[in-house]
């Protein structure tokens, strides 16, 4: 019994060092392989560690991004870090970029023409800006004349807003129901 406990806490240390040293999110698969454990065990170890950080109000945290894990600083320490690096506040996205990004996030994969259809304005600038910021990327081509490029969101997008994955996006207001109500009311 003690042997197993020892082993688990050793593996926890290994996971900690892996997440610490990596500058990007490390996939559960890679972690499991490295510690030579199945994914469920690896996941349990990561979560134990993450909970520990949280409960002890440590200066570091572990976040999940699309089935991968990344170590980051605790939000409470932000002011101090900013003071040390004298870094300016992050500029938020403009409304145009934010709207375009939201459309891509909810409707992906989506073409530029489809985005323009929803926003009612050209999306050329916004899409290329979002691609440049690595919040959006090409995910394929549509099987239609001209084979237009389809866009989707990136992991950087998830990180930027603190989402775990696309499924976690806040739901849009019930669209179908409202549309029904609406068509009824129009027909009345």
């Amino acid at each position: 019994m003690e042997g197993i406990c020892m082993r688990l806490s050793e593996l926890e240390a290994v996971v900690e060092s892996l997440l610490f040293i990596s500058g990007e999110a490390v996939s559960l698969t890679a972690i499991a392989q490295t510690i030579e454990m199945d994914k469920a065990t690896a996941k349990a170890i990561i979560h134990t560690l993450a909970d520990k950080y949280e409960n002890e109000s440590r200066g570091i945290r572990i976040v999940e991004i699309n089935g991968a894990y990344q170590m980051c600083t605790a939000a409470e320490c932000f002011e101090y870090i900013r003071n040390m690096y004298k870094s300016p506040n992050r500029q938020g996205l403009t409304q145009a970029l934010l709207e375009t990004l939201a459309i891509v996030a909810y409707k992906q994969p989506i073409t530029r023409a489809q985005i323009e259809e929803i926003r009612g304005v050209s999306a050329e600038h916004a899409v290329s800006k979002l691609v440049e910021k690595k919040l959006v990327c090409e995910v394929g081509r549509m099987e239609s004349p001209g084979k237009p490029i389809m866009f989707g969101t990136t992991n950087e997008f998830l990180r930027y807003f603190g989402f775990k994955n696309i499924a976690e996006l806040p739901e849009l207001e019930e669209a179908s129901k409202m549309e029904e109500d609406e068509s009824n009311s129009i027909k009345e």
């Binding site: 500058g23 945290r61 938020g92 929803i118 926003r119 009612g120 304005v121 990180r159 669209a175």
Partner: protein, 256 residues
């Protein structure tokens, strides 16, 4: 109408302007008074200061759409149809609803954006870049000091095994195994370790459960690194812990 100054670039586009008018006038989106909305929309366009044609075109297309819907509503309905045809406003309403949903969710996202900005991610450590950077392997690295004699012995061994049909696995125990650990390989190991831990202890360069041979080779590798002035070792007192760090260009007497 009161005199107002309007900048179209304050709006994200024609839909944003329409949305603004609807909110401002508390219009029921499901029953839009087309005449009133169209008039107001056109007034805004008239009053706009920044009437650059490029920016205006999208607003003008919408103006045309609004006028079209308005005129369709004015047309008398065909007599023989008891049921009403589709409401000419329907497409516009759907678009506005769709736009409204996006607009509303972005408000929530603003907060998330701010909160998430407080969390910082480290860029890939220099250490990891160095570890990864050494990916491309030279032939020398790959062959790990293999000599012609090693190759010859391997050939002899394999031919012998074939003739005597000795079991493949067991026969390899009989022969002198090529050193699994080379000084070169162990030097690389210690270098890698010092990338991750700029300062480490003497004991930690030896792998857990390493055999006598591996320990000796590791030690030789360490001596070689010291000789090449790649690392420096410090022992503050007799039998005290020995620390190993990358050579920082200072000679030993300067440190102590």
């Amino acid at each position: 109408m009161e005199k107002i100054t309007i900048r179209l670039d304050a709006f994200e586009g024609p839909l944003d302007l329409l949305y603004h008018l609807i909110e401002k006038n508390e219009i029921d989106i499901y029953d839009i008074p087309m005449a009133r909305l169209t008039d107001q929309y056109l007034e805004y366009l008239d009053a706009a200061e920044d009437r650059d044609m490029d920016d205006m075109s999208e607003f003008l297309v919408m103006a045309a759409t609004l006028l079209e819907i308005k005129s369709k509503l004015l047309l008398p309905k065909p007599k023989n149809e008891e049921e009403e045809g589709p409401d000419p406003r329907e497409e516009l309403v759907l678009k506005l609803l769709e736009y409204k949903k996006i607009k509303e969710v972005t408000e929530e996202w603003r907060q998330r954006e701010e909160d998430a900005a407080l969390v910082l991610y480290k860029e890939a450590d220099q250490a990891v870049k160095q570890l990864k950077g050494k990916e491309s392997q030279t032939l020398e690295d790959f062959l790990q000091g293999l000599s012609m004699e090693d190759l010859y012995l391997a050939f002899r061994q394999v031919m012998h095994r074939k003739e005597t049909k000795v079991d493949h696995v067991r026969s390899s125990f009989k022969t002198v195994p090529r050193d699994l650990f080379t000084v070169q390989e162990k030097m690389e190991y210690i270098r890698d370790m010092l990338i991750l831990q700029p300062k480490t202890t003497f004991l930690s360069i030896f792998r857990k459960n390493s055999g006598k041979m591996e320990k000796v080779v590791t030690f030789l590798a360490l001596l070689e690194l010291i000789k090449r002035k790649e690392v420096q070792i410090v022992q503050k007192m007799t039998f005290g812990e020995i620390t190993i760090s990358r050579y920082d260009g200072r000679d030993l007497h300067e440190i102590i």
